[in-house]
């Protein structure tokens, strides 16, 4: 903790970064993102097990960018978000400085994408066993049982778009949902609108999702949205050998192909 404060103070003092995005104390027992812009503000930094939010989403926010060079306290998901964003030409190498807090309290500083790539090769980036189990449970159901499950979940959706706003990969200036010539996804949060929206979002995140879980934790109606995209991680990995957010120069799995891609359903 003191390590972090010391480091961020130094980064701000020698102007390596102008703003450092870290965690601070929030309401009640919550943790929130804070934007540290001076050495005095570093006192507000907090680091504990509740610090799970993927802060990489903020590095693309217009008003944060205006503050100057960004440093960010990145967890594994945030590091992967950065690489994925890099592969989609949203961040340039060296543009954002990332600090990673090791379990032993030390800090690892990443100033370029290469070091993140190397670091991630020895890091567990998979989804949790709990999440795996939930997916397995759903997969064990019949198709119509799954339809009913999702129907019930989507019924709760109020289309507040918190999932989209919280997702570091949902950075489009105009989301497909908001494209209205023609209006492809119904804006209404009725069954059809919700089904369309969530399937569209899952499909657009297939091969890009870095399993940070922000969508599900942002959802005020507690819809397990992350399962939709998590479920696609494994077929994309086994089928095409691709995992999102591991290489800064990766080619998006769904914008490329291999002549011998395996399938068993095309006649």
């Amino acid at each position: 903790m003191s390590e972090l404060i010391k480091k961020v103070t130094q980064l701000l003092n020698d102007k390596t970064v102008d703003v450092f995005i870290g965690y601070g104390k929030g309401s009640a027992d919550r943790i929130r993102a804070i934007f540290v812009r001076s050495a005095e503000q570093t006192e507000k930094l907090v680091l504990n097990s509740a610090c799970t939010q993927n802060l990489a989403g903020y590095i693309l926010k217009q008003e944060v960018k205006h503050l100057g060079k960004i440093g960010v306290l990145a967890n594994v998901a945030a590091l992967r978000s950065m690489l994925q964003l890099a592969s989609e030409f949203q961040v340039k190498d060296g543009e954002v400085l990332a600090l990673f807090a090791n379990p032993d309290g030390t800090l690892t500083e990443f100033i370029d994408f290469h070091s993140i790539e190397v670091f991630l090769t020895t890091t567990d980036t998979g989804i949790t066993s709990d999440e795996q189990e939930r997916i397995a449970q759903l997969e064990a159901l019949t198709v119509s049982e799954r339809w009913n499950f999702w129907n019930k979940e989507f019924e709760k959706c109020i289309k507040c778009y918190a999932c989209r706003a919280a997702c570091p990969m949902c950075y489009c200036h105009r989301c497909t949902t908001d494209v209205n010539q023609p209006q492809w996804i119904p804006v209404a949060s009725h069954e059809r609108g919700n089904l369309d929206y969530h399937l569209m979002r899952a499909m657009h995140l297939a091969g890009r999702c870095v399993n940070c879980g922000e969508c599900a934790s942002a959802c005020p109606m507690d819809i397990p949205l992350n399962l939709l995209t998590y479920q696609l991680i494994s077929p994309i990995k086994t089928g095409f050998g691709a995992t999102a957010g591991m290489k800064a120069d990766a080619v998006y799995a769904l914008s490329t192909y291999k002549p011998d891609d395996k399938e068993n359903f095309i006649i």
């Binding site: 339809w147 499950f149 129907n151 499909m203 095409f240 769904l254 002549p259 399938e263």
Partner: protein, 152 residues
């Protein structure tokens, strides 16, 4: 009760399957009339949202068909499409939508007989599956017919 006649929409590539379907016709091969063909420049252009829309607008089944691998008019469109279909089928299945309702196939301009087979088999399969009830419940017409406004 009237017997269920499946409505099938076929999204086909202009260069292979469309020509193939044409050949089926000019060869006077008979096939089920349940299918409505929509021509696309390439299977690579067939977005998954177009397929979702077909269901919403009352399709009981969908056929997506294009050039055999390596035969794409634009070299690689069908390869790209194939990848997306693999992922999309996974997603549909996980979301509880019967993937059997979408038949993907490669039909070349010379395969008039194959096109007739694809259509006939799909119609037969969908006939067994029955109407796409899940989607009928959420169609615009359902919204239109719903009684007034409630506060429940």
């Amino acid at each position: 009760m009237q017997e269920f006649e499946p409505k099938i929409v076929a999204f086909v590539c202009n260069w292979c399957t469309y020509a193939g379907a044409d050949l089926t016709g000019t060869s006077r091969i008979k096939y089920d009339a349940n299918v409505k063909i929509i021509r696309f420049p390439c299977t690579g252009r067939i977005d998954f949202m177009i397929l979702m829309k077909a269901f919403e607008n009352g399709a009981d089944g969908i056929i997506v068909s294009g050039c055999h691998p390596n035969d794409c008019h634009y070299s690689t469109g069908n390869f790209h499409a194939r990848r997306r279909w693999i992922v999309f089928r996974n997603l549909l299945n996980f979301a509880g939508i019967e993937t059997e309702r979408i038949q993907f196939s490669w039909v070349s301009a010379a395969e008039g007989f194959k096109w007739a087979d694809v259509v006939n088999n799909t119609v037969k399969k969908i006939r067994e599956f029955g109407p796409n009830e899940n989607y009928k419940k959420i169609a615009v017409s359902t919204l239109f017919n719903e009684e007034g406004t409630s506060n429940e």
